[in-house]
Symmetry: C2
Subunit: 326 residues, 2 copies
Amino acid sequence: MPNIRLGLDLYGGDNAPESTIQGAIFAIENYLPENAEIHLFGEAEGIGEKVAKYKNIRVIKAENQIDNNTKPIQVRRLPESSIYKGCLGLANKEIDAFISAGNTGALLAGGTFISGRLPGIKRPALALALPAKNNKIKILVDAGANAEVKPEFFYDFARIGIAYSKFMGTEDPKIAIMNIGTEEEKGSNLVKEASKILKENNLNYVGYREGRDIFNDDYDVALTDGFTGNMMLKTIEGTSYYIVDELKEIINRSSIFTKIGALMMKKALKGLKGKIDYRQYGGTFFLGVNGILVKAHGSSDPKAIANALNVAYKAVENKLIDNILI
Amino acid sequence: MPNIRLGLDLYGGDNAPESTIQGAIFAIENYLPENAEIHLFGEAEGIGEKVAKYKNIRVIKAENQIDNNTKPIQVRRLPESSIYKGCLGLANKEIDAFISAGNTGALLAGGTFISGRLPGIKRPALALALPAKNNKIKILVDAGANAEVKPEFFYDFARIGIAYSKFMGTEDPKIAIMNIGTEEEKGSNLVKEASKILKENNLNYVGYREGRDIFNDDYDVALTDGFTGNMMLKTIEGTSYYIVDELKEIINRSSIFTKIGALMMKKALKGLKGKIDYRQYGGTFFLGVNGILVKAHGSSDPKAIANALNVAYKAVENKLIDNILI
């Protein structure tokens, strides 16, 4: 089996470069098989020493030129930046995957304009795995890449979502369009047109679903424009945090019996927290570009970076991209 | 003080007409002062007998012609229906408020085309109160009335949201536009244009907020198009139910100690459920039309109907509508 080459943006994220270096080492030591190579894009003091003993980690020269204030449009003018070089590495097939915890907009621009789109894909999209009832997995596309969307983009989103869902183990994924009602005549012109297009193509399309159905297990892929998708995703996040905070608050104000009860339930509450944290359910892929592009969360710690490397490795190994083109 | 006349759709909702009759009686007996009149729009066997002893409840003849399959456009052709008659009652000032737990689309169409819009309002919108951190209240506009929105509608949404927020006790409500990022250049063309309009007008506009900020207490009114607003609202609902279900599931599978813990925490968990149930935080108003129009939840029980009557009464008493026009 050929080596799988995973590019990693040394500078991406709030805790970089320390978290990315440690994440790469953690992944090599715990997750990745022999044929995995990590290409660290960037320079940091003493980095050579830190990774010297890992023959599967190499350092690629790149500069720290992109931060959270960098505008997407600027990336093309920063050819020495780690994101530019990583995305170029995908285009040139020097690496099979690129992972970054850095500026999302910059990474999406790099993927689209430097890595380049796959043939037949008009709009790459952010695809993300969420938990669903009965231990199922739901794929959400587009989770925020395209704020302005035309109906025909939904066909790309559908193929991206289906490929990701299959990668996560679903055999014949059912796809649905997120809408403000399930009846035929409900919703915006965008979703109505998109629905027609999905019906015309031979996809396993099951119709509209509402926001309250996002965790239901009767469909596998939730399709939406990037604006709505991002609003939904972050609303889930906001609601989860709010509920956990309120529960803590209620317990704090409660009687000693409630507090003892909470203590006895501690493990269950921790399990709940794990259950609703979508970050553990897979990676956030920017799919539809040349190569596997993974967006790790900005606040990633070494373990989260290692997880992202692991999921990228599996996506390459299982040919996630080939599935988009079928 | 003049009488406040509250119209109530006898047929609206899954449990009608029994729940609406009982709700009207419950409201008269428990919530409403002497000067409240309830006008029940509809006929049901024996209804006269049931309400005969309440001098503040009267029955207005209307027919049960609208169900969940009725299309909004059909309402105008059903002049004997309870929704048509109620909305016409608002236009003719025969009632001050109209409450229905029936077909939302039909009610919005009735409000817009039969009650009529307030002068200076282009687009009435659904406005709804959500909980926020530190026991604050957040108003969400538009929660689903307008799926297709132009930037200038946000000015109407802002005035509607401010009026509702003041009604809920906030002195100088801060308004924000929901967006997929907080930086100036982020988001769709719609929100960018809307943001300009709000800046130009002398409103207490504090900029963009993201989906994850929906429960934050640094702003009071969340503005969005009706498609996004409805998706957010129902995503909150879906997430809340999912979390509560998962927690139950985890407890069920847990040790006897966790179960005892859960038992001891029972009251706290019930408090949580009350806290996250937005239905208790006010009503869902369709604002911008002539008169107070309240949408009660389709599955309303008598107590929910009574709550809706109560909130409608207070909205009339506190001149919620006059505040929109300032």
